[in-house]
């Protein structure tokens, strides 16, 4: 036995002895019918503790909120246009919430402390007061209405942007699968070609339909590059189970649903470089994660997102090779534009499992 385990053994032994001592003390007191806490008044103690809890709790809540505040990246430093108004709405709701929680808790704990059972005190018989009740029905209703109005407007703007935005947007497709994101750009024709699981064959794991010439210039990338200030139309697909591509800093999230393509419009407004300066962190990267439970490596579906100027973006894009070209190089015997029949899919599919 080495010193380390001896030490830990002694620790446990001490704990054990401690409990034995307490237990035997309790036994003795019980036997002798002594109650060491007889003088204690539980109502007074608990009433006091309630007040103490409130005071210490409030201080702890304030202190810890202030301490962690700079790290609230989900609600600070938005990197997209709609993110600005979302964050504003978040903090507005937060102010209302803090006010409600603080006021109700102050009253609650004050009452608990103030109205604890005292000899000779009789409670007030006060079964109802319609005026009061109307007030606290109407006031929350009004506050809710204001919040709803704000929320509906924002929700509408995000989910259904105006035609100009849609026109100006670039397309990009995110496909979730266990456990990675595939990123597809439309290439020079600016249109994503058709894709469906039934076209999956060999290395074409995204199921691009090569009969559709629009797929021929589509680009597969391992990083999501986006130009700043340009609306992005994200097309979202899943190959297997639900995923949820989340671009936390851009306040973007939408489930990827197998069999039901979804989408999301947003406009990145801060480049990676600028964000590095804002954060004072030269290593900073925007990150894309998955936020819908999808299996064992759900926690690890990471892609880096790069927001850059239009020139940088275009330069990067021009350096990427169309997937179709790569695919042809890998399958030299392949006929132009020909894919397997649906009937062979199962067999061919099995071959791809090395991916």
């Amino acid at each position: 036995m080495d010193a380390q385990s001896l030490l830990s053994l002694t620790k446990w032994l001490l704990v054990f002895i401690f409990f034995l001592v307490i237990y035997s003390m309790a036994l003795v007191l019980r036997l002798k019918k002594i109650d060491p806490f007889k003088e204690w008044n539980p109502t007074k103690i608990n009433g006091g503790l309630m007040m103490l809890f409130f005071i210490v709790g409030t201080i702890a809540a304030v202190w810890s909120s202030a301490y962690w505040f700079p790290k609230f990246a989900l609600v600070l430093d938005p990197a997209s246009e709609h993110g600005v108004s979302l964050d504003r709405m978040f903090w507005r709701t937060m102010i209302v919430s803090i006010a409600v929680v603080v006021v109700t808790h102050t009253i609650l704990f004050y009452f608990l402390w103030r109205y604890q059972d005292r000899p000779g005190q009789k409670a007030l018989y006060y079964p109802h007061n319609n005026k009061l009740e109307v007030i606290w029905t109407v006031v929350p209703a009004i506050v809710m209405t204001i919040l709803i109005a704000d929320g509906v407007r924002n929700w509408h703007d995000i989910m259904d942007p105006d035609e100009a935005t849609k026109e100006a947007s670039i397309d990009v497709e995110l496909t979730g699968r266990q456990f990675q994101w595939d990123i597809r750009y439309p290439g020079v024709d600016k249109e994503l070609g058709q894709a469906h699981v039934k076209y999956i064959s060999g290395a074409n794991t995204l199921g691009l339909n090569f009969d559709d010439v629009k797929t021929h210039d589509d680009i597969l990338a391992t990083e999501l590059h986006l130009p700043v200030g340009v609306p992005v139309h994200v097309h979202i697909r899943s190959m297997d189970v639900l995923h949820s591509p989340t671009l936390m800093q851009f306040r973007v999230k939408m489930d990827a649903v197998p069999g039901m393509p979804t989408n999301f419009y947003f406009t990145p407004s801060v480049t990676t470089k600028e964000m590095r300066e804002i954060k004072g962190d030269p290593e900073f990267e925007y990150e894309m994660s998955c936020q819908q439970i999808c299996g064992g490596a759900h926690y690890n579906m990471r892609r880096v997102v790069v927001v850059e100027t239009m020139e940088e973006y275009q330069k990067w894009l021009s350096e990427q090779k169309a997937f179709y070209t790569t695919f042809k190089e890998m399958n030299p015997g392949m006929d132009e534009g020909k894919t397997a029949d649906a009937g062979d899919i199962k067999e061919i599919g099995t071959l791809t499992s090395t991916n």
């Binding site: 609650l108 109205y115 007030l124 009740e133 929320g151 189970v241 306040r251 999230k253 099995t350």
Partner: protein
């Protein structure tokens, strides 16, 4: 007298004469404690099964919190405990998800649904409305045993080769439908679904019984507007169960078919394990609609009984009438109705039509209004009260605090636009653990501390109760309050480790802190467990009405036998909340004592005797 009532009244209703003879003779152990049809025994069976489930569920959370705090550290004891699921003492990602799933399922369904509503609906309904038992003791017994089978199946699934269900407590397909996607979706998921079928059956059997009993078997004078709020809460809960659980059953059956028969209700266009599956045309979103049509009412099925219990406990222990009795009932009805039309607020970003999002946002934020009314009414009940801090009272006011802190974040999440970033982050975890988990658990504890004397004829040790309260109250806040911070930092739910993303890694320290707090809370529960078991056998013998309460359950003998009241069932002359009524000597005024028999202060003119109101059904007064 009591005997004749039993045979003549409810067994005729069941039409099941075969069982009558049990009640006339000395019952054997089996009839008395195992296959009992007595609501009090059945309540205790629910409670004890619920406590055992809680131990399992909480233990899971204590273990997976270790993983979140120390993602790269090996804990050799985990390997001895979990075997191949934690090779070298490091939990596998798949088993992490399995533990989270089991924790959620067990806590939501077994502990806070069956353990809370099952226990107290069974125990209190006949006692508080003045009935000899449930409308059907037999169906009641079936309800428990269906629950028992359900629990056994669920616990067995933990030990199978491929592990228990691992898709989260909401079991969204395709993850839950495809064994290729995660091992837990094999046999584990089949067992999960089977278990839930029994669970739903149990819930339905219980609920129709609770509704029938409350509507039909109230004693003389016990009109609906004289029922304690517990009764209203249990009635509404049972109605929610009856209307929502069948939908879960259909959701589960369709999932069964997709899994076993190859149908495509929820599955479409899937390429997994190197294979394109034949499924076409199904929609995973359909499952979510069905699930949340149950799921949202379910959260109120969990919460309403706790609210009912705390109303009663707070009123009794502040020695004041509950403030706004009618408003409390009204807001519970409002919550119950609205809870059926808000379900899609769990689905804002699932690709559902954004217009639906708007509609559900409206309804969702409306539900905050009745919730607010309840919170304000609790607080006003305390105003100028004479507050006695019994352990039950402490838990009841703790519930109010959790209800406010946890409910307020619903306003963020119910706002569809704000839900885009917040959905599936720890902000949601904090929200529902405070408002549902902690508040309902406190309702459960308040109920146990308050009605323990009636259940077991003995008192629990109050000092251990106080220690338990402070451990739990402080502990739960320390666990769940900081999770808001993690959520606001973007930390995602259902993550095995926060190490892979730099913005999440910032919260590893906080994660450690939360784990310590979780263990602190965990340790505190042993005070309860010890107190509970010890007091059943060695607690101080309870007086007849230890809390000086108005309700009928305290008019039974200290340990009520089958049939509850040895003689006639008392009639009721007023509502249950006449505490500290001016002019009376005592600060309480039991429901069953007529005005003319009350003890008035000197010089106070007692009111003229009033005849009891015409009862809904003259069950009690018939004798």
């Amino acid at each position: 007298m009591a005997e004749s009532n039993i045979t003549s009244d409810f067994h005729l209703e069941v039409g099941d004469h075969g069982h009558d003879d049990h009640h006339h003779h000395e019952q054997g152990f089996l009839q008395k404690y195992i296959f009992s049809q007595d609501h009090k025994i059945i309540a205790k069976q629910f409670l004890i099964t619920g406590i055992i489930s809680a131990i399992v569920g909480i233990t899971f959370s204590a273990l997976f919190r270790l993983q979140l705090a120390y993602p790269d550290t090996a804990f050799p004891f985990l390997e001895s405990l979990l075997g191949k699921w934690a090779p070298g003492g490091i939990i596998k990602p798949e088993f992490y998800l399995a533990m989270v799933t089991m924790h959620g399922t067990i806590m939501v369904f077994f502990v806070l649904t069956a353990g809370l509503s099952g226990t107290f609906s069974n125990f209190l309904i006949p006692l508080q409305i003045g009935a000899r038992d449930m409308a059907s003791g037999f169906i009641n017994m079936l309800s428990y045993w269906a629950f028992f089978i359900s629990a056994v199946i669920m616990f067995l699934s933990i030990f199978i080769e491929t592990g228990p269900a691992s898709g989260g407590w909401t079991i969204y397909p395709p993850l839950s439908a495809l064994p290729q996607a995660i091992p837990g979706s094999g046999l584990g998921m089949t067992l999960w679904l089977t278990s839930m079928v029994f669970f739903i059956a149990s819930g339905m059997l219980g609920a129709i019984n609770y509704i029938t009993t409350i509507l039909n078997l109230r004693t003389g004078g016990m009109t609906m507007d004289r029922m304690p709020l517990t009764m209203w809460a249990f009635l509404l809960t049972a109605i929610l169960v009856v209307l929502s659980f069948p939908v879960l059953l259909s959701a589960a059956l369709l999932l069964f078919m997709d899994r076993l028969l190859g149908t495509s209700f929820y599955l479409s266009d899937i390429f997994i394990g190197g294979e394109v599956l034949h499924h076409a045309g199904g929609s995973p979103v359909l499952f979510q609609h069905l699930f949340w049509f149950l799921g949202h009412p379910e959260v109120y099925i969990v919460l309403l009984p706790a609210l009912g219990i705390s109303s009663e406990v707070i009123s009794v222990n502040s020695r004041k009438p509950i403030f706004g009795y009618k408003a409390m009932i009204g807001s519970m009805i409002g919550i119950a109705v609205l809870s059926f039309i808000v379900w899609a607020h769990h689905m804002f970003v699932t690709g559902m039509n954004p217009f639906l999002g708007t509609v559900f946002m409206l309804f969702t934020l409306i539900i905050a209004v009745p919730s607010a009314i309840k919170a304000f009414n609790y607080i006003t009940t305390l105003w100028k009260g004479n507050i006695r801090f019994t352990p039950a009272m402490m838990f009841a006011v703790g519930l109010v605090s959790f209800f406010i802190t946890g409910g307020i974040t619903g306003i963020f999440l119910g706002n569809a636009a704000l839900d885009i970033p917040l959905h599936d982050t720890y902000f949601v975890v904090a929200h529902f653990h405070l408002v549902m988990g902690s508040a309902s658990a406190f309702g459960l504890f308040a109920g146990v501390y308050h009605w323990f004397p009636k259940m077991f004829g003995r008192m629990m040790n109050p000092r251990l109760g106080y220690i338990h309260f402070w451990f739990t109250f402080v502990g739960l806040y320390l666990v769940f309050f900081p999770q808001h911070f993690q959520g606001m930092g973007g930390v995602s739910r259902h993550y095995y480790a926060f190490t892979e993303f730099s913005f999440m890694a910032e919260f590893l320290d906080l994660s450690k802190f939360i784990t310590y707090a979780a263990w602190f809370t965990f340790v505190g529960q042993f005070f309860f467990l010890f107190n509970f078991i010890y007091s059943i056998f060695r607690g101080k013998v309870a007086p007849a009405n230890p809390w000086k309460s108005n309700t009928l359950e305290w008019t039974t003998p200290i340990k009520p036998q089958h049939g509850n009241w040895p003689g006639e069932i008392p009639s009721v002359y007023r509502w249950p909340y006449d505490y500290s009524k001016p002019g009376l000597k005592d600060d309480f005024c039991p429901q069953h004592i007529p005005d003319e028999e009350l003890d008035y202060e000197d010089g106070f003119e007692p009111p003229k005797p009033v005849k009891p109101k015409e009862p809904a059904q003259t069950e009690g007064s018939k004798e």
